[in-house]
């Protein structure tokens, strides 16, 4: 499968970077073709500009500023996000990638009267995320798992019908240990291949 990994963390020595590397290695071992978008490293600008907002609904024009990113999206069959959950959501860097790249016509069609939003990215059959959280799992659910819903529900409804989703998370990062982090990376290696089968 062709897999696009979208990664956002500012520090190369972070645990998130280790998760990214383990994800890339596991996918390659399983025989997938992998492409990495490292948003911090490429200096992506997450702020949707006034000009982009004005051209947001104009087919073609709205693709120009992010053409390269749309080409990656059209290429892939699976989309995997790797990022730290900050304030129950994606870092601004990744949130802005959703805001700027997932433009109408190219990635979805605006709803017509009586009809829901229409899927365009039907080449994508799997949407998943691997994330780290400070909060305990139960508190994350009390808060309504906002960041998880944005990707696994909000983005997957624009992809292929029956698009599969997965979510792997290491909670309580502030009291994590080398053991808990190693166990998480092991679990990722064991379970990621099945999620992308």
């Amino acid at each position: 499968m062709r897999v696009l990994v979208v990664y956002a963390h500012p520090c190369g020595e972070s645990f998130c970077a280790a998760i990214r590397d383990r994800t890339l290695a596991t996918l390659a071992e399983a025989g997938h073709e992998v492409c990495l978008l490292d948003l911090y490293a490429m200096g992506f600008d997450p702020v949707l500009s006034a000009g982009e907002r004005r051209g947001y609904h104009t087919p073609g024009e709205n693709e120009r500023p992010v053409a390269e990113h749309l080409a990656h999206l059209r290429w892939c069959e699976a989309l995997v996000f790797v990022y730290p959950t900050w304030w129950y959501g994606q870092p601004a860097m990744l949130k802005g990638w959703l805001d700027r790249v997932w433009v109408p016509h190219a990635t979805f069609r605006m709803p017509e009267p009586g009809k829901p939003i229409a899927r365009v990215m039907t080449n994508i059959r799997v949407v998943g995320a691997v994330s780290t959280l400070g909060s305990p799992r139960w508190w994350w659910w009390v808060m309504g798992v906002p960041g998880r819903r944005v990707l696994l529900t909000g983005i997957s409804v624009l992809c292929a019908p029956g698009c599969r989703t997965f979510w792997f998370a290491h909670h309580r990062m502030d009291s994590s240990t080398p053991q808990s982090r190693a166990a998480f990376l092991d679990r990722l290696r064991r379970r990621l291949p099945a999620a992308l089968r």
């Binding site: 949707l48 982009e52 819903r149 009291s175």
Partner: protein, 193 residues
Amino acid sequence: MRVLVLYAHPNPESYAAALHRAALEALRRAGHEVDDCDLYAEGFDPVLSREERLAYHEVPRNRAPVADYVRRLEAAEALVLMFPVWNFGFPAILKGFLDRVFLPGVSFRIEDGLARPNLRHVKRLVAVTTYGAPRWRAFLMGDPPRKVVTRMLRVLAAPGARCRYLALHDMNRQTQGEREAFLAEVERTMGRL
């Protein structure tokens, strides 16, 4: 009351901008001291940098890169968020305000390994927003932005802080009349803050 308005929309001709102007006017008319933080106009950079991440837990050094925004947040007795919902969340420029300014020692503090709320000076919390999605669809999706405001921000604010979440849904099909009615509702809410 000292009110910090966090506003996030790039275009002055937008409906969001009209809501913003109306809210500011209603707040000032009601005698509040308003700090209007227009994130786009101020050129706020929402990207938490490597240096900021490395110093994130070092109180109070962590606030140095955003000291002015921290000062404005700490002065607020009411917090008003005005934004369009994009992809079931805040625009990146507003999300980055949380990432960079809601620091340890500012919006929360760590005690015995647990995060404790630290925005006890915020006694009113209001969000004014617009959705492309109809209300039922946002509900089925779990309505992430509503939960971020009514659960997460509310937990950080003063105990018993009052919270209002004003949302106009299904924006692409709203009539002029419905937009005007929502604008009037926003004015009323600000006037009675």
